[in-house]
């Protein structure tokens, strides 16, 4: 019998507590050992095609509807690609305001990931009864902490609502700047949240550190491997989320490319299509598809930057760096969570800094121009990692080609590898134990993948596990 016919496949579907819908297959070899793991993404199909023939000015509004979880990130990347096509220098106030919007997105998204989606694992343990290992189980014991988390997320949502005019899919950022300036009332409303938000984030960081301690033994199995790291850094090499250039670093801390203008992203990365996922999987070009696997998002951003621009976050980053031990970069996916909490701290401090900027309430927020370049790229750091929007237009601004490079696609290879590592450690025979499922889910959640425009109810625990042989016969099936 040929080898492929003898493999068995375990399917875990859907991965709960991830935004949207996904499926996992674990492929076993003939000895029942884990051969491969795949995290399937069935979203995003056709969006790029759908935009072709439309106008560059509509794109922020259109693309911010790709995802209900981080619409503001698509909005900003799209508006920046538009700035690039208009070849325009946007007013300084507009940049400050766009930055505030992005931080609002970070706060709401990171708070969701930490408090709603991952906290049940942290606080109740991976082997806890699934009936209570969810938001409701968590509520029973940690009500106050969770309430603060919900408020923190609300703060992020408020920022977006205040700036974007109370819409989820806000078309407030446009090619050339933003649509409306910030009023005194809006400024005051955001500022009023800051002390509470900072206190909550500091508490979250303490909890995170105690979790890091508590799971010292488990953590080495959570996607612990060297990979490349990609993200934006500022001109001076410091932490960046809105502007700057691309930095690529390897898992030993060597900088492979630095401050490359986003316009040249295609020089660094190539995308390959796979038949098992709708996402195109990008890799670092000069290393090839296998070696070129890279990670983006909080872990990557904290690894690649020289420093963070706000004092408390910078102090925490130094503590984070110590986790690298002998190595130069922190290579363990579990520490995405820790990095995320540090970024929340940065975001709160940075909003404070921006609100204090003398130009934040400026009235000149939009520049206008016609098509000055036939191609444009906009990049920004979405909560889950670097996001690129690349548009080609005709001389009238009608889109001829659209390419979007999203964080979840960029992390796809690393997520597969993480699942494989966890399965290799926790899969026992042919049985898919509750503990294994929980760990795989938790491993995926390190990356906080965003998969569709719909948020699943937090804590819904529907799991479907199928054990298949290579010819498709179901050997075992388990639902919960």
């Amino acid at each position: 019998m040929d080898k492929t016919n003898d493999t068995r496949t375990i399917v875990i579907d859907p991965v709960t507590r991830i935004e949207g819908h996904a499926k996992i297959t674990i492929r076993l070899d003939e000895n029942g050992r884990v051969a491969d793991a795949r995290f399937h993404v069935n979203e995003f199909r056709g969006f790029e095609k759908f935009c072709e023939g439309r106008l560059v000015w509509e794109m922020p509004g259109l693309t911010s509807r790709i995802c209900g979880i981080c619409p503001a990130s698509h909005l900003i990347a799209s508006a920046k690609a538009g700035d690039d096509i208009l070849a325009i220098q946007i007013p300084e106030t507009a940049e400050l305001l766009r930055r505030v919007l992005m931080l609002g997105q970070w706060i709401q998204s990171h708070a969701l990931s930490f408090f709603h989606l991952s906290a049940p694992d942290f606080l109740l343990g991976f082997d806890a009864d699934p009936a209570t290992r969810n938001l409701f189980g968590l509520l029973a014991n940690n009500k106050e902490f969770l309430r603060k988390g919900i408020r923190l997320r609300k703060f992020g949502q408020e920022i977006i609502a205040i700036l974007g005019g109370r819409r989820i899919h806000t078309p407030w950022a446009v090619a050339g700047g933003v649509r409306d300036p910030m009023s005194n009332e809006e400024h005051a409303a955001i500022a009023a949240w800051l002390p509470e938000a900072k206190a909550t984030v500091l508490e979250a960081i303490d909890v995170m550190k105690s979790v890091n301690d508590r799971y010292r033994k488990e953590i080495p199995n959570f996607g612990n491997f060297r990979s490349l790291y990609v993200g934006l850094v500022a001109e001076d090499g410091s932490f960046e989320y809105y502007g700057g250039g691309i930095r690529v670093m390897d898992g030993m801390g060597n900088t492979l490319a630095d401050r490359v203008p986003p316009r040249e992203y295609a020089r660094l990365f190539e995308e390959k299509s796979e038949e098992w996922t709708y996402l195109k999987v990008p890799y670092y070009k000069s290393f090839g598809p296998a070696e070129g696997m890279y990670r983006v998002g909080p872990l990557a951003r904290l690894n690649i930057c020289d420093r963070m621009g706000t004092p408390l976050a910078e102090a925490e980053r130094r503590t984070f760096r110590q986790l690298a031990g002998e190595q130069e970069t922190v290579n363990n996916a579990f520490f995405y969570h820790y990095a995320r909490t540090i970024e929340m701290l940065f975001a709160v401090e940075e909003v404070e800094r921006l609100l204090g900027h003398p130009l934040i309430r400026g009235l000149h927020v939009r520049a206008r121009a016609m098509i000055n370049s036939m191609s444009g790229v906009g990049a920004c750091e979405a909560p889950r990692g670097t996001l690129f929007h690349h548009y080609e237009v005709d001389e009238n601004g009608v889109l001829q080609k659209v390419n979007l490079l999203i964080a979840t696609a960029q992390n796809n290879s690393a997520m597969n590898r993480t699942v494989r590592q966890l399965a290799a450690r926790y899969l026992d025979g042919k049985e898919v134990t509750e503990g294994l499922l929980n760990r795989i889910e938790a491993g995926i959640r390190c990356y906080d993948p965003c998969l569709s425009c719909s948020t699943h109810a937090a804590g819904s625990m529907a799991l479907h596990v199928v054990l298949e042989s290579a010819d498709g016969t179901i050997l075992d099936e388990r639902k919960r």
Partner: protein
């Protein structure tokens, strides 16, 4: 001009012989939905939303372009009319590509307002999803034929008010489309003066300003009766003489 008396919805009304049923109804605060009609332009009876019933005949008449006769009995709000109006709006919605949420005139759109007015909750007919062009060749404006409802307001305002006659309708039936000059890109039109009147009168997001983003455009149409009154009554001449 002779004054005639007739009834609308049982209420006795009167108006001049050269006033349409629509105009007289409005003077008596009776609302009839319209789309292709615009104060200041001639009427063509294209959209059929203003249809009314007249006693003694099974035929329906467009109020905007029908003139009353003595003792006519007109009804504007029967079950049958409501049903027809709803269907007309459904057909309009289904024969274009209307993604309101990302449309430049979202929340400021006459087609949307009509949908609310006729109580449209969902479209029962199949959407056609036609492939239509978007022409962005003009320096300042764009025509997106995906959202055109063929009301011909643009055609009329350009011909009757601006005097340029850039726009026309090509083809027949479902293939009708608004074209510029000799069916060429708008930006290459020699007759277009770039006055922008067509953009302002367009009831939907088909004619828009370049650079406008989602839900950003509001159209101001009050200029039209103003210009027309000035023109027909020669008010600017009177003022010029006064100022002399």
């Amino acid at each position: 001009m002779a004054v005639i008396t007739f009834s609308i919805n049982g209420e006795p009304v009167s108006g001049r012989q050269d006033e349409s049923i629509l105009e007289i109804a409005r003077q008596h605060n009776i609302r009839i939905p319209t789309l292709c009609h615009l104060d200041g332009l001639s009427d063509v009876g294209a959209c059929r939303l203003c249809l009314v019933e007249v006693e003694g005949t099974a035929k329906l008449f467009p109020a905007c372009s029908t003139f009353p006769s003595e003792n006519m009995v007109v009804r504007t709000d029967t079950d049958r009319l409501r049903r027809y109006r709803r269907t007309i709006v459904e057909l309009l919605a289904s024969e274009g590509n209307h993604q309101c949420a990302v449309c430049v005139v979202n929340n400021h759109c006459e087609l949307q307002n009509l949908a609310y007015q006729v109580g449209l909750e969902h479209v029962r007919v199949q959407y056609l999803f036609p492939r239509k062009d978007l022409d962005a060749s003009h320096r300042d404006y764009i025509i997106d034929r995906n959202r055109c409802v063929l009301c011909t307001r643009c055609v009329r305002v350009c011909h009757e008010v601006e005097g340029a006659h850039v726009w026309d309708i090509a083809n027949r039936g479902i293939n009708c489309e608004i074209i510029a000059d000799m069916h060429q890109p708008w930006g290459t039109s020699d007759s277009c003066t770039s006055c922008g009147k067509c953009v302002l009168v367009c009831p939907v997001g088909a004619l828009i300003e370049k650079g406008a983003t989602v839900a950003e455009m509001e159209k101001h149409r009050a200029f039209l009766p103003y210009i027309m009154t000035a023109r027909t009554k020669h008010e600017w001449i009177a003022r010029a003489i006064e100022e002399d």
